[in-house]
């Protein structure tokens, strides 16, 4: 079973990103992945990337810059708009890693 390190980013670094990382974990686990999820706010991303391995970023707030890691906008999980597309993209991306 492949383990994915997912970083979930939101403005507070806790509330919305926890909602998203729970959901993303649920989706990926149902696809047979093991998930290590971490949350932070946009200002915490750089430090986090130096201290640990991150395979995938999901974000609800805009990031400070582009990272060399696959990044998926997770707003559809909150709004419902484009939710299926998000799920499909997430699974496709996870399988490609």
């Amino acid at each position: 079973m492949k383990t994915l390190n997912v970083l979930s980013v939101c403005g507070s670094g806790s509330v919305t990103s926890s909602m998203v990382s729970n959901k993303v974990t649920e989706i990926l686990e149902s696809e047979g992945f093991r998930v290590n999820a971490t949350e932070c706010n946009p200002n915490g991303v750089d430090a986090l990337l130096q201290s640990r391995n991150v395979d995938l970023i999901v974000n609800t707030s805009p990031l400070n810059k582009d990272y060399d890691i696959p990044t998926i906008n997770a707003i559809p999980l909150l709004t419902g708009v484009g939710k299926q597309k998000f799920v499909d993209t997430l699974i496709t991306q996870a399988k490609a890693l």
């Binding site: 806790s14 509330v15 919305t16 926890s18 909602m19 729970n22 959901k23 709004t79 419902g80 939710k83």
Partner: protein
């Protein structure tokens, strides 16, 4: 889901008022939260700052809503405050700080330790994309009906 019932979350519903600005709304809600001893004295300034930097307006499939929240260190006891306003209040879109979102539905989320409450967060997230409950939220104006809806979330 069993955990839901064991976590006491204070629920407050405020309806039927006009707010000339987001600041006035935040003042009103902060005063209520201070009265109930649910937040620290810094809450107003922190929620204002957070919303300006990382806005929480959302354009959901079933209408506009905002979910203001700030760091748990300014929260003493967990709460959900649902405000249904008479006029639309301007927020900015979570995905784009330049884009206004006008809404009459605002849910203030206050959690003490977020890591212990994943089920509630999950439940809140499911609620935002749940057609039936989002439409119910838009249609109903009664405090007890809206309180019932919050109790249904967590």
């Amino acid at each position: 889901m069993m955990m839901n019932k064991t976590i006491p979350i204070k629920k407050i519903v405020i309806t039927g008022e006009n707010y000339p600005s987001q600041t006035e709304l935040f003042k009103k809600v902060t005063n209520k939260l201070l009265d109930e001893n649910l937040v620290t004295d810094d809450y107003f300034i922190e929620i204002t700052k957070r919303e300006a930097t990382y806005p929480t307006g959302l354009l959901t499939e079933f209408g506009e809503i905002a979910i203001p929240h700030t760091d748990s260190k300014y929260v003493k006891e967990p709460f959900l405050v649902l405000v249904k306003t008479e006029n639309s209040v301007e927020f900015k879109n979570m995905v784009n700080i330049e884009e206004p979102v006008y809404t009459q539905l605002i849910i203030f989320i206050g959690f003490v330790d977020n890591t212990k409450q994943p089920i509630i967060l999950q439940s809140l997230m499911n609620f935002l994309s749940d057609k039936e409950r989002m439409l119910y939220l838009q249609e109903k104006d009664g405090v007890s009906e809206l309180k019932g809806l919050l109790d249904n979330i967590c």
